[in-house]
C-alpha cells in the first residue's frame, strides 16, 4: 500500500487515460461498488502515508494471487523491555507475523509494537475500561473503534523509516555545509554550492537573527537558527520528493525541535526576561500577581505553538494533496481526473512554498523568543 505519492501521480496519469477509456466502456456500472472500496482504500493509504514505519518500503503491490509484495528493506527494531532487544523488522512480515526475541513476543498493531503472547493476542480495554475485547493482532475478528490495547508497550527506540530519513538529511546537510566551509579556506568568495547557500545563510543572519535578537547578541544563536532553518527546509522539501519520507508531520519531531527552542530560550534568558515574567514592571501590584502565571504559561505556549504550527501545516498539506490525488481514482472520468491532477500539481507547487515558509517561520519565531530572552531593560 505504501509507495510515494509522486510515483502514484505517475500511475495516476496512466489511470487517467485508462479511466477515460473504461468510463466510456462501462458507463459507470462498476462505479457505485468500486468507488466505496476505493474511498476506504485511499483513506487508508493517506493515513498510512502519514505514519511512521518499521520498514523502508519504496513500493508495494498485490499479485494476481492476492499476495502482497513489498519492495524495500527492513530496519532494525530496538526495544527496551527488561534489557535491550534488537531484531530486524522483517520478523514482523509487514505486520502479518509475531516477532519472537529471547522468549518475548511482539506484534504490530496499528503501527505500534505491543508485547503479546505467541499467537499475537491483543487485549482491549473499552473506552471506559469496563469491558474487555480481544482481537487478533491483524484485526481480523472485529473492529473496535475508540478501543485501546491494554497490552504492555515496550520502550521503543527503533530505527524507523523516519529515523533513517532524519539520519540521511543530517548526513547530507553535514557533508554539504562541511564542503562549503572548506571552500572558504581557499578564498573568501563563495564557490560551487556556496554560491547558492551563502545568500540563505546571510538571509538567516541579516533578516532573521539580527533584527530579532540584536546586533550584539545574535552570534551565539546563529548555529541553532541556521541548523533548524536548513534542517526543516531540507526535510520538508525532501518529504515532497518521490522517494522522500514525511518527517515533520510527526508531532514527536516538531516537539523535539520546539523543546530545543524552549530550552535555549529558558537557559539564556537574562534577569530582565524573568522579571517580565514573574514581576511585570510598570503595572500595579495586583496585576503583577495576575500576570505572573499567565506569562509563565506563555513561555510554554510559545514553543507549543511552534510545534503545532509546523506539524499541522505539513500534515494538512500532505492530506489535502493526497486527497486530491485520490480524487483522480474516484472520479475516473475525463473531466474530474485531469481537474484533480491540475489541482494536485498546483498544490504541489504551493507545498514547495510552504516547505520554505514553515522553515522560515519556525526559525523566525525561535529568533523572536531568543530576542525576548536577552532583551535589555528599557524602562
Amino acid at each position: 500500500m505504501r509507495y510515494s505519492f509522486f510515483s502514484k501521480k505517475l500511475v495516476a496519469v496512466i489511470f487517467l487515460i485508462a479511466g477515460f477509456v473504461s468510463a466510456q466502456n462501462h458507463e459507470g456500472e462498476e462505479v457505485e461498488t468500486g468507488a466505496h472500496d476505493l474511498k476506504t482504500q485511499i483513506k487508508e493509504y493517506i493515513d498510512h502515508h502519514l505514519l511512521d514505519s518499521y520498514d523502508f518500503n519504496l513500493y508495494s503491490y498485490t499479485t494476481d494471487q492476492g499476495e502482497h509484495k513489498y519492495i524495500g528493506f527492513p530496519l532494525p527494531v530496538i526495544l527496551w523491555d527488561n534489557g535491550l532487544k534488537v531484531f530486524s523488522s522483517s520478523q514482523f512480515e509487514h505486520g502479518e507475523a509475531v516477532a519472537e526475541v529471547d522468549g518475548n513476543h511482539y506484534a504490530l498493531y496499528h503501527n505500534k509494537i505491543y508485547k503479546t503472547d505467541a499467537e499475537g493476542t491483543i487485549n482491549f480495554g473499552g473506552h471506559h475500561g469496563d469491558e474487555t475485547h480481544t482481537e487478533d493482532a491483524f484485526g481480523e475478528n472485529l473492529v473496535v473503534d475508540d478501543a485501546h490495547p491494554t497490552n504492555e508497550k515496550p520502550l521503543d527506540f527503533s530505527i524507523t523509516k523516519n529515523v533513517v530519513f532524519i539520519m540521511a538529511v543530517a548526513l547530507l546537510m553535514f557533508l554539504v555545509f562541511r564542503s562549503m566551509a572548506k571552500r572558504y579556506q581557499k578564498s573568501t568568495m563563495p564557490r560551487g554550492v556556496g554560491r547558492f547557500l551563502e545568500p540563505l545563510v546571510l538571509f538567516v543572519r541579516d533578516e532573521i537573527a539580527i533584527p530579532n535578537i540584536g546586533e550584539h547578541k545574535y552570534k551565539r544563536y546563529m548555529s541553532y537558527l541556521l541548523t533548524v532553518f536548513f534542517f526543516v527546509w531540507v526535510i520538508n522539501l525532501l518529504g515532497l520528493t518521490p522517494l522522500g519520507v514525511n518527517v515533520t508531520n510527526n508531532i514527536a519531531v516538531t516537539f523535539a525541535l520546539a523543546m530545543i527552542t524552549y530550552l535555549i530560550t529558558t537557559f539564556t534568558g537574562n534577569k530582565n526576561y524573568w522579571k517580565h515574567i514573574f514581576w511585570m514592571p510598570g503595572v500595579p501590584v495586583p496585576m503583577k500577581i495576575i500576570l505572573a502565571p499567565i506569562e509563565l504559561l506563555g513561555t510554554f505556549i510559545k514553543p507549543f505553538s511552534l510545534m503545532i504550527r509546523l506539524y499541522a501545516n505539513i500534515t494538512a498539506g500532505h492530506v489535502v494533496l493526497m486527497s486530491i490525488i485520490g480524487l483522480m481514482f474516484i472520479f475516473k472520468n475525463w473531466i474530474g481526473s485531469p481537474l484533480s491532477f491540475l489541482l494536485a500539481f498546483a498544490l504541489s507547487l504551493l507545498e514547495l512554498l510552504v516547505a520554505a515558509l514553515q522553515a522560515y517561520i519556525f526559525t523566525m519565531l525561535s529568533a523572536l523568543y531568543f530576542g525576548m530572552a536577552v532583551e535589555e531593560d528599557h524602562h
Partner: protein
C-alpha cells in the same frame, strides 16, 4: 489532542533530539563557524577597502585643492612679476627718453654755439678779406687812375662786379 498524544512516538522523539543536537554541534564546529567567520572576514575586508577608498578620495581632494591653491598663488605671483617688469620697462624707457632729450638738447646747444662761433669767425674772415680786397681794389683803382681815366673807371666797375659774387 488525544490522537496527537497517542500518535506521539517516544523513539522518534529520542532519535530526533539526539540526531538534531549532534548535527547542531557538528555543524557548529565544522560549518557554521568557518562559514560565518569567512563571511565576516570578507565583509570586514570590504568595509576596510571601502573606507580606505573613501580616505584616498578625500586625500585626493585635498591634494587637488592644494595644487589648485598653489597654481592660483603662482599665477598671482606671475601677474605681479609681469606688472613689475612692465613698470620697470616703462620707467627705463621714460628715463632713457628723458636722458636722450637732455643729451640732444645739449648737443643742439653745442652745435648752435659752434655754428655761432664759426659764423663769427667767418664774418671776421669776410671782414678781413673785404678789407684786403678793398685795399687791393683801391690799389688797382689808384694804378688805373694813374694811366687812363676811362680804363680806371671800367676797372672799378668790374672789380665791384666780382665783389658782388662773394
Amino acid at each position: 489532542m488525544e490522537k496527537l498524544i497517542e500518535q506521539f512516538s517516544f523513539g522518534l522523539f529520542f532519535w530526533q533530539l539526539l540526531l538534531f543536537v549532534a548535527l547542531l554541534f557538528l555543524l557548529r564546529k565544522y560549518a557554521w563557524k568557518p562559514i560565518l567567520g569567512a563571511v565576516e572576514k570578507r565583509e570586514e575586508g570590504i568595509k576596510g577597502a571601502l573606507e580606505a577608498a573613501e580616505a584616498a578620495k578625500k586625500e585626493m581632494q585635498n591634494v587637488t585643492a592644494d595644487s589648485e591653491r598653489l597654481l592660483k598663488e603662482a599665477r598671482a605671483e606671475r601677474d605681479v612679476l609681469l606688472k613689475e617688469a612692465r613698470d620697470i620697462k616703462a620707467n627705463i624707457i621714460a628715463e632713457a627718453k628723458e636722458q636722450a632729450q637732455v643729451e640732444g638738447d645739449k648737443m643742439i646747444k653745442q652745435a648752435q654755439a659752434t655754428i655761432e662761433s664759426e659764423k663769427k669767425a667767418a664774418v671776421a674772415d669776410i671782414k678781413a678779406q673785404v678789407a684786403n680786397l678793398s685795399v687791393e681794389i683801391a690799389e688797382k683803382v689808384i694804378k688805373q687812375e694813374l694811366s687812363d681815366k676811362g680804363k680806371q673807371e671800367k676797372l672799378v666797375e668790374d672789380m665791384l662786379g666780382d665783389i658782388k659774387l662773394n
